[in-house]
Symmetry: none
Subunit: 394 residues, 2 copies
C-alpha cells in the first residue's frame, strides 16, 4: 500500500464526526444546515477548504459500520462487519477475536410453530428479567456463553472460545406460522458450533418454558470479527476514540483505537479528548444528535442539534493540529433515515487547500477545494495536511 | 486498452507544463495565481473550459517523475522510476534499457568508519576534478562504467552491460560512525553486479586514497529503467519534448519522445518547438521558474514567474491545434515544496468543453467544465479534443 511506504511523523489530527450531518431541502428550499445558525463552522468554511464525501459509492446508503470504516480509511467493501458484531457493539459488549456474536429475538412458540417473532414486543424491563434467568447458562462444551439485553425483544448472544464458525443456519424462519429452524451446520467445520447452539437452545427453552409470551427465542446474524489491520498498523497513528453511544465506541475499538468507557454527554467526550491530548496522534469524536433528529424527520430538532454542535467547535480546534469536520453519512429529515448523498466536509488547516465557501452547507461544500471523493480517501488528505506523508518518487 | 482501440488521426496537441503551477493563499487570502496579472491565460480561461488535476491520489505529493508520467497518461503507481534513474536523468545522462543507474555521494572515511557522508559538501568544481580522475575506470568485467558529476558531493555512476541487477545492498550505511556496507547481492541473480561494484569501489578507493575530504564514496538508489511502452505505442502520437532542465528532457526521453539537447531559455525552447512543428503530432514543453519560486517560498518571485509564463502563451497557441496548460503538481509558497492539491488546467480549443471561469486560478478551475480528475486522465481529454478518438460502440 502506497500510504504505508510514505508515512512519517507529523501533527495531530482530530476527526469530528457529526452523525447524519447533511440533508435535503425541507422548508423554503433550504436544508437544516442552511437554516441553522452556525457561526463557528461558517467561519472555518471561509478560512479553510471544504469538499464532500461519498460514503460508499453511487446510491449506496451505509449503516454506521461501513460508513465509519470508510472515514477511518478502510475500504468498506473489503472489510464487512457482520450484523451480530454490530449488535454486540451497539449494546456495549466487548468483542474479541474468535468470538461469535449473534442477534437474538424473544419469540412466542405454540405447538412447535412461531406465532410471534417478537414475543409481542415485550418491554425492555421484561427482557432484562429474562436475560438474568438465561445467564445461568454460562458455559457449554467449553464455550463461554455471554448474554446481553437490547431493547424490547432484542438481545445479543455471544459465544467465546475456540473453533467457532459463522456458517450455521439461522433459527429464525423469517415469518410466522413456521417452526424455528434447527441451527444446522452449513459447512463441515461449523458442526461444533451447531452442537453448542443446539445445547444452548435446549437449556434456554427449559428456562423460558412457562413464560406467557417470550417462551422461546430466534437467532440470526451470526458474525465474527473481520481480520482488519489496526489503525496504528495502517496509518502509523496512535488513536483515541470517544463517543456517547456504545456502537461508535465499538467501531473505534474494532480498528484498535483506545476508547474510554462512556461519556454521557458531548461535553464529557470533549473533556476526555482534552485530558488525553498529549498521549495520542489521532482523535475521533462522535456527535449523535444530528442523526437522531434526522431519523425522527424533525427539521427543527436537526437545526437545534446542528447549532449545539457548532457551539462545541471552538473546543475542537487545537493549535498546530488538523481538524476535519464531517459526517459518516447524511440523514435527511425528508427521508427520516440514512442516505447515500455527498456528506459535507471541511478541513481546518492552512495547508489543507483553497477556501471557496461562505457557509458550511451541502450546496457550498460541493464546489470546494477538497473535491468530491469517496469517504475512504479522507485519511490520505488528513495525513498529507498533517505533514505525515513523504513525497512519492523523486 | 480502450484508448488504443479507438485511436485515429487528428489534430496536433501541445502540452505546456508550468512546473509547480498552483498554490495556496499567501497574502490577503490570495494565491500567487490570483495576485499575478495573467491577461493571456485569463482570456483563454474565459473562452475555453478549465478544470483541475490530482497528480496521483488523495494526499499523495509526487516527485517530478511520477507527476510527469501521469500527465503523459501513464499510471504512476504502475510504472515506478527508481531514484538512480531520476538522478541520471537530472544530470543529463542518457539511460538505456538494461543500464543500472546509482546515486553516489563523496564521503570521508577514517579508520574504516564513515565520518562525513557528504565529504564536507565539497564544491562542485572539486567534484568535477575527482570525477575526471575516476573516469580512468572505464570498464570492469565487461561492464562499461560511466561517471557524471552532480552538485557538491553528488554524482551518478552508471553501469552498462548484460545481467545487471538492482538487488544489491546500498553501501551508504545511512548515518555517520558506521563502516560502509559491502555491495552484497540481495538475491542470487545480483551476485555478478555485486562483484562488479566491489571491484569498482576497490579501484576507486585507491584513486581517492590521498584526498583530504573525499577519500571515499557511498552508493544508493540502484535503479534500472522500468519496462514502459513508448508514447507512440500507447497513444499513436509522434512526440517532441523540449525543456531547459535535463531532468524533464530525461522524462520525455523515458517515454520515447524526440528530445533535442538543451535549450537554455524558454524562448529557445519555444523556438525549437516551432522549428519542429511540421514533424510531430504532440509537443511537450516544460517551464521551470514557477516551481523554483514555490520551492523558495517566495511569492513575489512566483507571481513574476507566472507573469513571464503568461507572456509566452500566445506563442503556444497554434491554429487547429489543441493547447493544454497545466502543472505536474502545485508548489505552494507556504509549503516551499511540492504538494498533493488539485492542479489548475485549461484546454484551449472550442471542442474541449464548457467555459465557466473569468480567471485562470486554483479557485475557478475547481468548478470547471473539465472536472476534477486524476492527471493520468488528461491524455484522454486531449486525444478526444484533437479528434483522435473514434466513437466507442455503435
Amino acid at each position: 500500500m502506497l500510504y504505508r511506504e510514505l508515512l512519517q511523523p507529523g501533527s495531530k489530527i482530530v476527526l469530528a464526526v457529526a452523525d447524519g450531518l447533511g440533508g435535503l431541502p425541507i422548508i423554503g428550499g433550504f436544508t437544516a444546515m442552511e437554516l441553522a445558525s452556525l457561526p463557528n463552522l461558517d467561519s472555518l468554511a471561509r478560512k479553510f477548504p471544504v469538499g464532500a464525501l461519498e460514503p460508499i459509492g453511487a446510491g449506496i446508503t451505509p449503516g454506521s459500520g461501513p460508513a465509519h470504516l470508510a472515514l477511518f480509511g478502510y475500504d468498506p467493501l473489503k472489510y464487512r462487519i457482520g450484523r451480530g458484531i454490530l449488535e454486540a457493539l451497539g449494546v456495549g459488549m466487548e468483542v474479541r477475536k474468535g468470538d461469535l456474536a449473534i442477534r437474538g429475538n424473544f419469540a412466542t412458540l405454540r405447538n412447535g410453530v412461531v406465532v410471534d417473532r417478537r414475543a409481542g414486543r415485550i418491554p425492555t424491563s421484561e427482557n432484562r428479567r429474562l436475560i438474568e434467568k438465561l445467564e445461568s447458562i454460562k458455559e457449554v462444551m467449553g464455550i463461554k456463553i455471554i448474554w446481553k439485553s437490547g431493547k424490547e425483544h432484542r438481545f445479543v448472544l455471544l459465544l467465546r472460545g475456540e473453533n467457532l464458525s459463522e456458517n450455521v443456519k439461522e433459527t429464525d424462519p423469517g415469518r410466522e406460522g413456521l417452526p424455528p429452524n434447527p441451527p444446522d451446520p452449513l459447512t463441515p467445520e461449523a458442526s461444533f458450533t451447531s452442537k453448542v447452539l443446539t445445547e444452548v437452545i435446549k437449556r434456554a427453552s427449559e428456562i423460558l418454558r412457562d413464560e406467557p409470551k417470550a417462551n422461546y427465542f430466534l437467532l440470526r446474524g451470526y458474525a465474527k470479527l473481520p481480520h482488519i489491520p489496526t489503525f496504528e498498523e495502517k496509518w502509523g497513528l496512535k488513536a483515541f476514540g470517544v463517543a456517547t453511544y456504545p456502537m461508535y465506541r465499538g467501531l473505534a475499538k474494532l480498528v484498535g483505537m483506545s476508547v474510554p468507557d462512556g461519556p454521557e454527554t458531548y461535553e464529557e467526550a470533549l473533556k476526555l479528548l482534552e485530558e488525553n491530548w498529549e498521549k495520542y496522534d489521532f482523535f475521533y469524536i462522535h456527535y449523535k444528535d444530528t442523526d437522531k433528529a434526522g431519523e425522527d424527520g424533525d427539521w427543527r430538532k436537526k437545526v437545534e442539534a446542528l447549532e449545539r454542535f457548532d457551539s462545541y467547535v471552538p473546543r475542537l480546534l487545537k493549535e498546530e493540529a488538523v481538524l476535519a469536520v464531517t459526517g459518516d453519512h447524511n440523514t435527511p429529515c425528508i427521508i427520516a433515515g440514512h442516505s447515500w448523498h455527498y456528506v459535507p466536509l471541511l478541513i481546518a488547516n492552512k495547508r489543507a487547500g483553497i477556501p471557496t465557501a461562505w457557509h458550511f452547507t451541502e450546496r457550498e461544500t460541493l464546489k470546494g477545494g477538497l473535491g468530491l471523493r469517496p469517504s475512504k480517501d479522507l485519511m490520505g488528505l488528513l495525513l498529507a495536511t498533517a505533514s505525515r506523508l513523504k513525497k512519492f518518487g523523486a
